[in-house]
């Protein structure tokens, strides 16, 4: 459409619309940021300025003290790292198998990824709760990790399969002709080429488990085992006017890891989408 001539008035309209979008999308983020640095007096007085009148860091200290933030952060980190490592270790061989071998499991797996979208989590979560209870994996971080691995897996498989399929088979065949065996081909040809894809998938798995809420809500009961989203949601319940600043500060801290990792993989995530969606 860029080829067509656009009148100055049309351009102005486009910019007005673009700015409206920027405000709608960006203002709530700025407000969160600003609230995190406002002192409690300013919030209590209903100061609706975007720029804090006397910026303070005390909210961050409050959030860390009162919302059990450090402990919850370590729990979240532990679960997210374990989920990431396990998911990638299990998904990598499987994705290679699905992409390279002809097996009936391929349409079955891909079908499952799509069909499982239709079922609300509530249907899975009750029986899963009962099953994990038998193994005493309720209210335990390893139990939560298992759940996260299972529910992150389908998409990680999907993502990795795409990356495997993008590696030309000719490379592997050439190596085979040179006498390399299967393992050697995997280690010295496939995995190095796959590294960017694996990194993207790993970060995705990390973000998913770092952000997850419903499973944690159902499965974690003791305060020592809460994850970040859980502790933040409880902090909301206990909130008074005074605590809004701390709430904002805590939320901000909890978002930073996801945001940073997302920034790293965003291009890969969206380009994977570009190649897929256009063919629709």
């Amino acid at each position: 459409m860029s080829a067509a001539r656009i009148s100055p008035a049309g351009r102005a309209g486009q910019y007005a619309a673009l700015i409206a979008y920027v405000v709608f999308l960006g203002f709530p983020l700025l407000w969160l940021l600003s609230t995190a640095f406002k002192n409690s007096r300013e919030i209590a007085l209903g100061g609706s300025g975007l720029i804090p009148s006397s910026p303070t860091l005390s909210n961050f200290g409050d959030a860390i003290d009162r919302a059990n933030l450090v402990h919850a952060g370590l729990n979240s980190l532990q679960v997210a790292v374990a989920t990431t490592v396990l998911t990638v270790l299990l998904a990598l061989p499987a994705a290679y198998g699905l992409a390279r071998f002809k097996t009936f499991l391929r349409p079955v797996t891909l079908g499952w990824v799509l069909v499982s979208q239709v079922f609300p989590t509530i249907l899975v979560i009750i029986p899963l709760f009962l099953i994990l209870k038998q193994f005493e994996l309720i209210d335990s971080l390893p139990g939560l990790t298992i759940v996260y691995v299972v529910f992150t897996m389908p998409f990680c498989l999907w993502m990795l399969m795409g990356f495997v399929a993008n590696i030309p088979r000719d490379l592997e065949e050439a190596a085979a002709i040179d006498g390399a065996n299967r393992l050697r081909i995997l280690i010295s040809i496939v995995f190095p080429l796959l590294r960017p894809g694996v990194v993207a998938t790993a970060l995705f798995a990390f973000i998913s488990s770092w952000n997850e809420f419903l499973f944690a809500l159902v499965m974690i009961q003791t305060p020592e085992k809460v994850t970040l989203p859980l502790t933040l949601s409880r902090f909301v319940g206990a909130e008074g006017q005074v605590q809004l600043g701390a709430l904002a500060a805590g939320s901000l801290l909890a978002t930073i890891p996801s945001l940073v990792f997302f920034a790293l993989i965003q291009r890969r995530l969206t380009s994977g989408l570009l190649s897929g969606a256009v063919k629709g």
Binding site: M1, A3, I6, Y15, A17, L18, Y21, V22, L25, L29, W31, T35, I43, G46, S48, A94, G97, L98, F101, K102, L105, T109, W112, V113, Q117, P120, T121, L123, V124, P127, L128, V147, V149, V150, F151, M153, F155, W158, A165, R169, W210, N211, F215, L228, P229, S233, V236, Q241, L244, L247, A248, T255, F262, Q266, T270, L273, L274, A277, V278, K279
Partner: protein, 314 residues
Amino acid sequence: MSSTQLAAPVSVGDPPPERRPRSRRRVKGDAWPLLLPALLPIVIFNVYPLLQGIYLGFTDSRAGLNQVTHFTGLENYRDLMDNELFWSSFRIGMIWALSVTSLQFVAAMGLALLLNENLRLRWLARTLSLVPWAMPPVVVAIMWRLMYDPNSGPVSGASQALGFGQLNLLGNFETALPAVIVVGIWAGMPQTTITLLAGLQGVDETLYEAAAVDGAGAWRRFWNVTLPQLRPVVVAITSLNFIWNINTFDLIYVLTNGGPGGRTMLPMLFAYNEGFRYGHFGVAAAMGNVMVVIIVGLLLFYLRSRLKGTGADR
């Protein structure tokens, strides 16, 4: 879970096809050892519980020790039909899912069209449109609670500055649902925008030139060229959005927890309360089954009407 939320845009299309598939290379036995470690946990902790969950919807299963579960057939569903709260939550869920999905589509389409133009500031809008994707839903909800806070929030602040007095959008019976719908739209912008933008970039430029030669204005070009070309992408993303939206839980749990007076009690929140607050596992699972039937029914209806539409055009 949020991962499926994050996940799905890519699942809109097929995964990139293999280059030159060679049917000669079929090493059947070899694939199993590679696949089993990944697929076994999915079967044990996802497929099996799901089947059991569907079954639980036909039983009187309850939380607690020593509870004996009986098969009760359709009793849960009869009870749900008589339950006014169920109907109200169902109605709220439909209003929520349909409005969020449609408004999100309109908003995202507008943004995608702008991002497809050569405008300054485009990078900023594009970056901002992706941010909600990376945020924990709990944080999104907290952020909007700050926005809507009657004492210190900017929405109420603006209302006071204009002389309308304090505004408690989330606490008010009439405004709570519209207020959370806005949050739903905000939270779902990334996936929809990026998918539509990808679709736009795939539209053949020459079609626009041809339309321009024929004297079609911008609106006609959009209506007669862009939209029909985008149809598969639009159908896919609106279907997925609808499924995700009707199953929303985290956002509302933190924003309003279903209040005020149940005005934002989405179906999944209702089911969660039945299951984990009152311990009625059977009823909660039955509610899940009802949602599956409704979602599948609506999707079939939607997809059929869309497909018919394409047939009539050509």
